[in-house]
């Protein structure tokens, strides 16, 4: 983990970035974020450390009274699953888009599936 400043959204748009030469051959994975809303205890690890800043905290409360994460619009998730590994409540996981359907999962492009009790 690099020392120093936390990554900011602007770092991906630095003037020194160029489009990689093999960009058309490499497929960036896309993930479908699944959130068990009522397991969440609002710790914000996932929001903080998603490398794509694909999550934000909802203004809604879950049944326990915590704000829970929701996917930002824009198909940002790349299925890295860091949120899945960091979450202390086993409340969030990703699947590669198009694979691994759960019952009742809405097919979406990087959209979150929110489920409650």
């Amino acid at each position: 983990m690099p020392q120093g400043a936390r990554p900011t959204p602007d770092s991906t748009r630095s003037k020194y970035w160029r489009k990689p030469l093999d960009a058309d051959r490499i497929k960036i994975p896309h993930g479908e974020i699944h959130i068990a809303v009522n397991r969440c205890k609002g710790c914000q690890f996932c929001v903080e450390y998603c490398p794509r800043h694909a999550l934000e905290m909802s203004s809604d409360f879950n049944v326990k009274g915590y704000h829970y994460p929701v996917a930002k619009p824009g198909n940002l998730c790349v299925d890295c699953r860091l949120c899945q590994m960091l979450c202390p409540e086993f409340a969030i996981f990703c699947v590669e888009e198009g694979e691994g359907e759960d019952e009742g999962t809405a097919k979406a492009d990087g959209k979150a599936k929110e489920a409650g009790e």
């Binding site: 983990m1 860091l82 960091l86 009790e117």
Partner: protein
């Protein structure tokens, strides 16, 4: 008496198979690193393709001690400080079991300290995952043998003046064959270290620097576990193979993480079997367990 709050019946987390879902939600606080540690453990176990029927988890008393109760393998919640000798008995009686001790810094190094050093000395083939949150959280935030100097604790209300243990150094000096330290934030490397530790024959130790929001952070006004994670992000420095003498952790100081020890030593059973087969001149039947 307590109402059971189940989890979404139509949403199964990939880890639910390894968890005792009938006991969820767990008791740990929001922003506690224990849930994350359990996930890293589950990731490690899954990546190794271990036979879960042969995996046993033993824990002691404390917040980390509750880990055994949530993992769906043969799991043992034993007495304070005695997870290691219990695990030793379990392993030696049936060496086919993979025995992992998951316990806290106080449980393993205060009351359990003597058992730690002897199991390391003997190189018993078990894995120790020490979740170090620098405090006795379950009982209300008392000082632990890892609490950094100057930090506040319930039994050090004017600030801690005791020098804490340097766990990797202790483990190395006592003979552990594998010693690593990661923060709970560094989940992938942590999971990888846990895998390596489990596979490694002999006494393997993985120290997990874990945030404790309700006691350690709150008593020292450091925010929540998220703030501690941010601190780990900015202050953990990876130095594989670092000299363990230099791995002490001061209050809110740099934390050196990495894999520090990975060496070879015959395990207790290997030594025993070799010794007896020489002593008995070939009439000795290799010990493979006390259970028929």
């Amino acid at each position: 008496m307590t109402t059971k709050t189940g989890v979404a019946p139509d949403l199964t987390h990939p880890m639910d198979g390894l968890l005792r879902m009938d006991r969820m939600p767990h008791i740990w606080c929001p922003t506690c690193g224990l849930g994350t540690t359990v996930t890293a453990f589950a990731t490690a176990v899954e990546s190794l393709g271990l036979d879960l029927d042969r995996l046993a988890v033993v824990s002691g008393i404390g917040c980390t001690g509750r880990v055994a109760g949530y993992i769906k393998v043969d799991s043992f919640h034993t007495t304070h400080g005695r997870a290691i000798p219990f695990a030793t008995g379990l392993h030696l009686a049936n060496p086919k079991l993979k025995v992992v001790v998951i316990s806290g810094d106080g449980d393993l190094f205060a009351i359990g300290g003597n058992h730690f050093i002897h199991a390391a000395r003997r190189n018993i083939d078990i894995t120790i995952i020490c979740v170090n949150n620098f405090i006795y959280a379950m009982t209300g935030g008392q000082v632990a043998p890892t609490t950094p100097v100057t930090s506040k604790a319930a039994t050090m209300p004017y600030g801690n003046f005791e020098q804490p243990f340097n766990i990797p150094h202790l483990a190395e000096s006592c003979g552990a064959v594998y010693v690593a330290r990661w923060s709970a934030l560094d989940v992938r490397r942590l999971a990888k270290s846990i895998s390596e530790a489990i596979l490694k024959p002999g006494f393997s130790v993985v120290e997990v620097i874990s945030p404790c929001s309700t006691l350690y952070a709150r008593q020292n006004r450091l925010g929540t576990g998220l703030d501690l994670m941010r601190f780990y992000h900015d202050n953990c420095e990876i130095r594989h193979g670092a000299d363990t003498r230099e791995l002490a952790i001061d209050y809110q100081s740099k934390i050196v993480v990495g894999k520090f020890v990975d060496r070879e030593r015959p395990t207790y059973l290997d030594s025993m079997n070799k010794w007896y087969s020489e002593a008995f001149g070939g009439r000795y039947e290799t010990y493979e367990g006390s259970v028929k």
